[in-house]
Symmetry: C2
Subunit: 203 residues, 2 copies
DNA sequence: CGCCATATGTTTCCATCGTAAACATCACAA
DNA sequence: TTGTGATGTTTACGATGGAAACATATGGCG
């Protein structure tokens, strides 16, 4: 019995859950508006009032769908992780898996951060203390599975697999954060070179 | 009189400004209080009012020393970078330089983030669009020099030095961020193992 | 010594924020 | 038809960052 579907159906029919009362699937509309704001306004705070205005509804209406602002941000963060995972999976497939595929997922990670800075930041800044073990996919699931698979490809030595996985993750995450915080300026070539040092230099 | 003794001497040369009027070097006191709050209250916002209350002064008094809140945070961020650099330099020396020293600076980086999460985050989140080329040391200067030196030790191959330097930085920065954001749980051993993969496994 | 410009701190005020509470409105089931 | 529960609105509150007007001490200059 799902009271919320996994992916954010922005335009299409809301299946059966969340029927249209006054607005017609406000929850999804709010999330869509939030993502748009994050994408356009990379800087600046995401305020409830502005968000509600975008959707054409008054501020406190959002509280019928989210207990508080944190919950709304959590929803946006989860969607961000889902998108990141999708992009990585796509990159992995396009490169045909293996070492090259692993490297491609790493590059996709950094590229996503560069293309959607606010969403990326939100997705990782949000801390989930002990989120009641949301039985539904955590969103970052896909990314994690790809990471393990890729590590298996590049470092068949099982002993150091854990450290290697963390190494790879930390590398791309750090590169992404340094780019977002303007400590390093984005460049396709640069990312490829740096990521290649760990992920295997196959081209 | 324990108000100006801190190592918070922002301006290397007080020259002529900032003598004691009413309060006696409020600027330094505010920065010290801000650092303390960041250290204790790791979470939560750093509000002007609370900060002013800590120092025993009324909120808008801070505006005599900082144009706005951003500037105050910038000052705190700079102090954070300075401390990080100092810790790294100390680690480098204690390890006797070389490969082991380089690795030590990497570990010190992650440890600093773990020990002072809010300050670390602040230091790197603050973006300096084009800070008028603050003639005074940028604060991160020490860290940068150590990075270059360390890379020279580990990767004498000059051709890939740039990529290697970025690689090392991204690794420790990413590890730090993942720990702060609770994606990875801190462990001395783990950090040593992961950092060792890039910084040279000398123990 | 006396005066005053200036650096410093205080009071008051305002727009904005998140959000709780009371109220209004709509769809549908009995 | 009427009631019931889900949804949206209005109003109100406390806290925020910040501007403006006011108060006060300091030190230079006569």
């Amino acid at each position: 019995m799902a009271d919320k579907d996994n992916s954010v159906n922005i335009k299409k029919a809301p299946a059966k859950a969340e029927r249209a009362y006054h607005h017609g699937d406000l929850r999804a509309a709010v999330i869509a508006a939030g993502l748009k704001r994050l994408a356009e306004d990379a800087g600046g705070e995401l305020g409830l009032r502005a968000l509600a205005r975008d959707v054409g509804v008054s501020a406190t209406a959002l509280y019928r769908h989210f207990p508080d602002k944190e919950a709304l941000l959590d929803a946006l963060a989860e969607e961000g992780l889902r998108r990141l995972g999708a992009l990585q999976a796509q990159a992995w497939l396009k490169a045909g898996g293996g070492r090259a595929g692993f490297k491609a997922t790493g590059i996709a990670y950094v590229r996503f951060a560069h293309d959607e800075p606010a969403l990326f930041r939100l997705s990782f800044t949000r801390q989930m203390p002990d989120r009641k073990t949301e039985e539904a996919g955590d969103g970052g699931e896909v990314a994690y599975n790809l990471l393990r698979a890729g590590v298996g490809e590049v470092f068949p030595d099982a002993e150091s697999a854990d450290a290697a996985a963390l190494h790879a993750w930390a590398l791309v995450h750090g590169l992404a954060m340094l780019i977002l915080d303007r400590r390093v300026t984005w460049s396709e070539a640069m990312v490829e070179r740096v990521v290649g040092l760990t992920f295997g230099g196959v081209d």
